[in-house]
């Protein structure tokens, strides 16, 4: 039983096997870190090609969402909105919106009778922010070139495409766990969530 348990888990957990075989910290820690990194990397790839697979669901971890959230928040720095306040409210805003929004969506899907667990849902929603983060990076590059109409149209197209990609990827994982009549009830908060993030990305304007 213990072996089975050891074989199954991954993600934010330690190496399989007995506990008392390692007397130095080096061996197990390096292995664990590498394994966790590989798990995070494979999840990113699964967001790029969303298809119904168990990787994001079974071995959840929250490192990817944390990294994406920090990256998105840092990319949203330096805007015209927060010139007097050193980027304070905007930075914490991104964190609060992403994490609080994910928690609300998860509660919603659980109350509607979904079978997915709390952290699995947070994991999926967090990883599917990746297209929008990439769009933010692209937008900042485009804005370096100028902020006229052409730049706006380019940014609009990029943000819309990545918003669609994020929503599609996450509903591919989330909606399957719901009873048939409830799929749209679960999907629309996800739609709103990525819409708000997409809005933040699109309306970003660099300070002069």
């Amino acid at each position: 039983m213990a072996d089975e348990a050891n074989r199954q888990f991954a993600g934010l957990s330690d190496t399989a096997g007995e506990e008392d075989e390692f007397s130095t910290l080096d061996e197990p820690v390096k292995e664990t870190i590498l394994r966790d990194l590989r798990a995070v990397g494979s999840k990113f790839i699964h967001v790029l090609y969303p298809k119904r697979s168990s990787v994001l669901l079974r071995d959840w971890d929250l490192w990817g969402p944390l990294l994406l959230c920090v990256t998105l928040a840092l990319l949203l720095q330096g805007g015209a909105a927060d010139k007097e306040d050193q980027g304070g409210p905007q930075f914490a805003e991104v964190f609060v919106i992403v994490w609080f929004g994910s928690i609300i969506i998860t509660l919603n899907s659980k109350l509607l009778g979904g079978t997915i667990s709390f952290f699995q849902s947070l994991c999926v929603l967090g990883y599917c922010i990746m297209p929008l983060t990439a769009a933010m990076a692209v937008c900042r590059i485009v804005l370096v070139g100028g902020s006229g109409t052409v730049s706006f149209i380019v940014r609009l197209v990029v943000v819309t495409a990545s918003f669609g990609w994020s929503t599609f990827a996450s509903t591919a994982f989330l909606a399957d766990n719901q009873p048939p009549g409830r799929k749209s009830l679960v999907v629309y908060p996800v739609f709103l969530f990525y819409f708000v993030i997409g809005w933040m990305v699109l309306t970003f304007s660099p300070s002069q």
């Binding site: 039983m1 213990a2 348990a5 199954q8 888990f9 934010l12 957990s13 330690d14 506990e19 008392d20 007397s23 910290l25 197990p28 820690v29 664990t32 966790d36 669901l57 079974r58 071995d59 959840w60 490192w63 944390l66 920090v70 928040a73 840092l74 720095q77 050193q86 980027g87 304070g88 409210p89 930075f91 914490a92 964190f95 609060v96 994490w99 509660l107 659980k110 079978t115 997915i116 667990s117 709390f118 952290f119 699995q120 766990n177």
Partner: protein
């Protein structure tokens, strides 16, 4: 005869090492150090953030990074080495989420930490969240709302480990749920924390 003497000397050396290991005050100095290192540095960074950098964002990222490393190392490494406790979450084949809390039985052969290490472990685990809760109230009453988000994130990271290890300790003290396959005490319930997780 010379061979016999050599053999006997080797045994003494191994015995000496074993005795030294068992009577050491701290068996895992590196683990003990890192258990406290990230937590204390995060608290110090929060207190000194005005001097470190004027940018709120860099301070936020620094503290969250330190606390993430702390969470990972306490959960995966130091708990296992210092007090022989472990907890994790696994997903069944049918998608059910299972929280597992494990406590290793103390025996002469294994390498669990000494009393001093156990004290370091639990003191570090309990005092730091209490300090962050104090920070919560100071930032709330001084109306520095943007710091509140950071403090809430820190409290959740630290409290998660504290809660997990308290559950493991309860398993260890329970003692009656020994698994039939191994000597370890393994308590597995399709348990749901607070009814949702």
């Amino acid at each position: 005869m010379a061979d016999d003497t050599e053999d006997v000397e080797l045994d003494f050396a191994a015995d000496e090492q074993e005795r030294a290991r068992r009577s050491a005050v701290i068996r895992h100095p590196l683990a003990s150090f890192f258990h406290l290192f990230f937590r204390v540095v995060a608290i110090v960074a929060y207190l000194l953030c005005d001097w470190i950098s004027e940018n709120f964002a860099s301070c936020f990222v620094l503290i969250i990074t330190l606390l993430s490393f702390d969470f990972w190392s306490v959960k995966n490494v130091t708990g296992r080495l210092l007090v022989g406790l472990r907890w994790w979450n696994q997903i069944d084949d049918d998608g059910k989420s299972l929280w597992v809390f494990e406590a290793k039985k103390a025996s002469r052969d294994n390498n669990i930490g000494t009393e001093a290490e156990a004290r370091i472990f639990w003191l570090g685990l309990i005092i730091c969240p209490l300090i962050w809760i104090c920070f919560f109230f100071t930032s709330l009453f001084s109306l520095k709302i943007k710091w509140l988000s950071l403090v809430v994130a820190s409290i959740s990271l630290q409290a998660a480990n504290l809660y997990g290890y308290l559950r493991c300790k309860a398993v260890g003290e329970d003692g009656q749920h020994a698994d039939s396959f191994t000597g370890q005490h393994l308590l597995q319930r399709p348990d749901i924390i607070f009814g949702i997780l």
